[in-house]
């Protein structure tokens, strides 16, 4: 009898919770007038400083720029992503901003669906340029289709990878050369996913050679056990942590610094912290979980400002409203632009970033935004002085130098 009662009570509670949950979910999106542009942002996760900053910024903008948005979870599962976007378009979405780039064939299907629904597609922190360049011949037709579709509005990458992978190598070299560490080892993510890592490693090695030629205290680049042809240890996606054995091996070889050209800090941190705390980790990337290890173990941080969302946002708003710039690029390829990385190597820099850029600031408030609502508004097509060049320049101006001034 008691179990029956408990079960009923549990069911009732859950039913109430469902209704409440639906209610809460639904209040987030009240019906609005036809002028309001409906945007869907496909995200990979709904936590973290980047997500929070993005939402805070969009919330601050939606009334001023007259749009509404919902976020929807999308992962690497292209089949599910297609369904998700299809459903959103049926729900009246006019613009899709995706943070996940799926393969060209699936992207084409999404874009075809956008075309049929008079909606538009843009990428945020995705690297379509790389995805499209890195496909097998069977995808060529699909890439061709995407690059000629009016529904494709371009994308902004996270960081400077399209224009200049070498920047990363330079940044990491500059950070390590300031210290006494001279025995280093290299790590990177798989090259097919991050071809930029190759350029970064080449640049780093170049700088090391130059330095060694000019200075007494030579750098030594130590190869890890099982390193790839380029001498760097490939840390795969499936690897949770770089194994302790590897860290022990580094320790035995006298490694003082690990140069990880991708955002591998988290995967390296755990075992370095426990087995070889004297080794410094120089990496590209940012994660809420590694901030506490900065600057003791993690020596370098970097992240694209969440404010970069304004690029796809403005492109979608312009397109839905039928506005365009005088210098609107004719080629879709020219709308695949690069974002900027904010590089941080010291506590002072982090402090500065906290006041000038949303993702670094505590609580990610709009008050710390790189750009004001008014300035964003002035970038919309049709506003005085607005142009595509100005939009791209704004994004490009968010360099470490400017942000950490």
């Amino acid at each position: 009898m008691k179990t029956k009662f408990l079960k009923r009570a549990l069911c009732t509670t859950l039913a109430c919770a469902t209704v409440a949950g639906l209610g809460v979910g639904l209040t987030a999106c009240q019906p609005s007038d036809s002028e309001t542009v409906r945007i869907v942002v496909g995200v990979q996760q709904t936590t973290g400083n980047n997500y929070n900053s993005m939402c805070n910024l969009l919330d601050a903008l939606k009334d001023e720029l007259n749009f509404e948005y919902t976020t929807t979870l999308v992962d690497r599962n292209a089949d599910a992503a297609l369904s998700t976007y299809q459903n959103q378009l049926l729900g009246g979405a006019q613009g899709i901003i995706t943070m996940v780039d799926v393969d060209a064939a699936t992207t084409r299907k999404i874009i075809e669906d956008c075309e049929a629904n008079n909606a538009y597609y843009a990428g945020y922190m995705t690297d379509f340029a790389n995805t499209f360049a890195n496909t097998d011949s069977a995808q060529a037709e699909n890439v061709e289709y995407i690059l000629n579709s009016d529904a494709m509005l371009g994308a902004v990458t996270d960081g400077d990878i399209v224009r200049d992978g070498g920047t990363r190598g330079e940044f990491l070299f500059d950070a390590v050369v300031k210290t006494d560490a001279r025995v280093v080892t290299l790590c990177r993510a798989p090259l097919y996913a991050y071809p930029v890592a190759a350029t970064a490693i080449d640049r780093f090695k170049e700088l090391v050679e130059e330095y060694n030629a000019a200075n007494e205290d030579d750098f030594t680049i130590v190869e890890s056990v099982g390193a790839a042809d380029d001498g760097a240890l490939e840390v795969g996606f499936s690897m949770q942590n770089v194994p302790d054995a590897t860290v022990q091996d580094w320790k035995a070889k006298g490694v003082e610094a690990v140069i990880a050209v991708n955002s591998l800090g988290k995967k390296i941190l755990t075992n370095v912290q426990t087995s070889a705390p004297e080794i410094g980790i120089y990496q590209i990337g940012w994660d809420d979980n590694i901030i506490s290890a900065f600057p003791q173990y993690i020596k370098t941080l970097c992240q694209t400002p969440a404010e970069t969302i304004i690029y796809p946002l403005i492109r979608v708003l312009n397109a839905v409203r039928g506005n365009s710039y005088a210098d609107e690029p004719a080629d879709v390829e020219d709308t695949l632009i690069s974002g900027q990385y904010i590089y941080i190597t010291s506590e002072e820099e982090l402090e500065k970033a906290r006041t000038s850029c949303m993702n670094f600031a505590e609580g990610n408030p709009v008050s710390a935004s790189l750009i004001s609502v008014e300035e964003i508004k002035s970038l919309l097509a049709g506003e005085e002085g607005a142009s595509f060049k100005k939009l791209v320049d704004t994004i490009s101006s968010w360099t470490s130098e400017n942000v950490l001034k």
């Binding site: 179990t3 029956k4 079960k7 549990l10 069911c11 859950l14 039913a15 919770a17 469902t18 949950g21 639906l22 809460v24 979910g25 639904l26 987030a28 999106c29 009240q30 019906p31 609005s32 995200v43 709904t46 919902t70 976020t71 929807t72 979870l73 992962d75 690497r76 599962n77 292209a78 089949d79 599910a80 297609l82 369904s83 998700t84 299809q86 459903n87 959103q88 049926l90 729900g91 009246g92 799926v102 393969d103 060209a104 064939a105 699936t106 084409r108 299907k109 890195n134 496909t135 097998d136 069977a138 995808q139 699909n142 798989p190 090259l191 097919y192 996913a193 499936s238």
Partner: protein
Amino acid sequence: MSNENSQNKKFDLKELPGKAMHKIKTFNWKEWAKDNIFTLVAMGGFVLLLIVFSFLPQVMRGPNVTFWRAAVLQRYIEQVTVYLILALGACFVYLMGSMDISVGYQVAVFATIFIAIVNAIGTAGAIPLALIVIVVLGLVCAVFNAFVGAYVKLPTVMSSVILMQLFSGLTTYLYGDSGYSARAIVVSLNILNETWVRVIVLVALIAIAYYLTNYTVVGKRAKAIGSNKLAAQQAGADLLKTRVLCYGIFALFLCVASVFAIARKDSFGEADSVSYQMDIMIMLLMGGMPLSGGYKGRVLNTVVGTLTYVVLNLGLSLCGVSAEYVFFVRALIFVIIVCLTCRKPGLLLPR
């Protein structure tokens, strides 16, 4: 009862007291409802969702966003197709009280091999060959599943764990050094994307599954095995043979689903099907299919479960429920179903 002639009358069982079944009724509504309470709850849930989504999207998102329009139904069928084909096949495994968690990885490998063969030859003529290859591969897996279950005295879910590991490894190998996360197919399978083709195929497959489960030896034995393995064996059901056949049917459905999955996007990626096994498990549970299998499971459960699962995703999107809440709502509905359908504990002493 008269005592006349009782002396000489031959003993007749019909004279036994009590209410015997004099007229053979083939269907008793009340009893059916009682035996199929979970199926009914599932069907009720589905209808309820349809009713809710008939008006809620309009209320939430304006008059243009309606559920009952051709575009929505077309997408609905599109999204149901692969899931339903898989679930119908999985139904045979679940009826036996077994489980399979390798579906997604099997689909990934079959689809990739299918694309590779078709692309290598480059013409539509390659499709039958590719199909034969994946069917053969599927049947090999079926035999493996059945053998592990029957001889290695392991729960059948273990064989699918082994297959899952094997196939996830194979997927990584197939995609690993290529650098592509997905492969496109050069021969168009667009005919399969026509809504009428999908509907015909689905109706046909439902009919086949229904026929196989209700009117054939293998279907009846699968259910008997699910309900009581020992009794089924003592009534002549060969465990291994039935398992091979059930997993074989599953494999055939799986191959058909793989082709439809490719057709949908003209490509297939390594991550595209990883959630299938869990989705299917949830769909079957949502449809009122008992995880222990047996006579209480039926094709109807599979169909209702799949339709509910997909309509839930679609409807919530139409209502504009944002990312955080979709999972929340889905999880809660799932827990409610499990709560409603889980067997009530008996009042007997621990057994």
